[in-house]
């Protein structure tokens, strides 16, 4: 392991996350940080989402820093104007989200859970896999996915997400195989599959678990 790592914001990967323009730029993963979480999010246009609406139910404290541009946060019920240089602290459980009000707005998100050693999300590679898929790079996505399955062979969520990935890319046999395996690991995967639109085209297949 090297003593230090250097990267410029412009060199970070860009993974589209949703249909609202949110783009994830992994920082923790790029630099190998283990003590806390760190990601950047960029909005190309004014009006794009730059922080996903969520509540950090897992107990993470999160600090957002507007590194460039200008954003409007919602913090609970409150709307907060956040030009470059603004810090927004969100305690665990507080609903938060942000939209850019200027093109090229970039926000750094830092997070960890108080009182315990930081744990890196098991599913970071899954998010990357779907990011590659949204970028049109199915092969790179599948490589990430396979690495995640190999690392966590006993976790149903990995196989469930792999089934979604294969369904979205039209691979019927692989999708059904992964889904069957996810259900073997935990029957609740069947309930999740019943309501996940990623499987809509497969739902009438006689082999689709129902």
């Amino acid at each position: 392991m090297s003593t230090y790592e250097v990267a410029h914001l412009d060199e970070l990967e860009r993974f589209p996350v949703d249909d609202e323009g949110l783009t994830w730029r992994p920082v923790r993963r790029r630099l190998g940080i283990e003590a806390f979480g760190c990601n950047a999010y960029t909005a190309e246009k004014a009006g794009d989402r730059v922080v996903e609406e969520h509540s950090e139910q897992g107990g993470h404290e999160e600090l957002y820093f507007v590194a460039a541009g200008h954003a409007t946060f919602t913090l609970g019920e409150e709307e907060v104007d956040a030009p470059a240089g603004t810090f927004v602290f969100a305690a665990p459980g507080t609903k938060r989200g942000a939209h850019a009000t200027e093109p090229g707005t970039t926000i750094l998100a830092l997070g960890a859970k108080p009182g315990v050693p930081h744990e890196i999300s098991k599913w970071e590679a899954i998010f990357v896999a779907f990011g590659h898929l949204r970028n049109g790079d199915e092969a790179a996505g599948r490589t990430e996915l396979e690495a995640a399955l190999a690392e966590y062979p006993g976790e149903w969520q990995g196989f469930f997400n792999a089934a979604c990935f294969e369904s979205l890319t039209g691979n019927r046999d692989q999708a059904l195989a992964h889904l069957r395996h996810a259900i073997e690991l935990d029957p609740k995967a069947k309930e999740w599959a019943a309501k996940d639109t990623d499987f809509d085209w497969l739902r009438d297949d006689p082999e689709f678990p129902s």
Binding site: M1, S2, T3, Y4, E5, V6, A7, H8, L9, D10, V27, L31, G32, I33, E34, A35, F36, C38, H60, E61, L63, F65, A67, F73, L75, G76, V80, A82, P83, G85, T86, F87, V88, F89, A90, A91, P92, T94, R96, L108, L110, G111, A112, K113, P114, G115, V116, P117, H118
Partner: protein, 224 residues
């Protein structure tokens, strides 16, 4: 008890420090308890924006620096790293000596830290350093009162003693300043060296007792 959610612009809570940089006490301002975070802005070019230090100690820290504005040059274990705005510098090895100097005025570096594999705990230096806000207003009485109280709570904290000695020197309290500087140095020899270049001690620099103590050194941690 968890801290409350809220927002603030960095300029709303920065304080000036004697060495020509401003400090935004981000962690303390928001009551963050899961990781350390501070921001430092150099007033002019060639100013130190991150003091030379390492992150060893009971809970050695990984530390991430992000150059928000301006342009900095980091030196990590003697290697120079050019860091224009937008650069992340992640120092994985807590023992690595690192510092950053601004190439441009108003260079801001965000510093984030925490221990790998252990829960984060705020460290002592931050508490003592908060009294540095009184340097901007030259309110030495307030600085001495705050640091004396902290010294009472943490009698073996060499940094609190050092800053108390600085305030006493600037307030013309030669005897108190020399006594507290000596105690600080007995606890941590690096403060003797730091005192040699610290203009806060100019009022007592001609004292033979000061000369017996002083030398050269680095200063403390940055993120947490």
């Amino acid at each position: 008890m968890s801290a409350e959610s809220r927002a603030a612009h960095m300029s709303d809570f920065e304080i000036g420090t004697p060495e020509g940089r401003r400090w935004a006490q981000v962690r303390a301002t928001f009551g963050i308890s899961a990781f350390g975070v501070n921001a430092w802005t150099a007033d002019g070019p060639d100013r130190i924006v991150i003091n030379e230090h390492d992150e060893t100690g009971p809970r050695p820290h990984e530390e991430l620096y992000f150059v928000v504005n301006g342009h900095a040059v980091f030196t990590i274990n003697g290697e120079e790293v050019d860091a224009p705005a937008g650069t992340f510098v992640f120092v994985r090895d807590p023992a690595a000596k690192r510092k950053a100097v601004a190439k441009e005025a108003e260079t801001t570096v965000l510093a984030v830290g925490g221990p790998r594999g252990q829960a984060f705990e705020p460290v002592e230096w931050e508490r003592g350093a908060q009294a540095l806000r009184h340097w901007e207003t030259k309110d030495w009485e307030a600085a001495m009162a705050e640091l004396s109280e902290l010294h009472g709570e943490h009698p073996d904290d060499a940094r609190i003693l050092y800053n108390l000695a600085c305030a006493e020197s600037l307030a013309g309290k030669r005897k108190d300043a020399l006594g507290h500087l000596r105690q600080s140095v007995q606890l941590d020899g690096t403060f003797a060296e730091l005192a040699a270049d610290d203009s806060d001690f100019d009022p007592i620099r001609d004292d033979p007792e000061f000369s017996a103590i002083a030398g050269q050194a680095d200063t403390g941690s940055t993120s947490s």
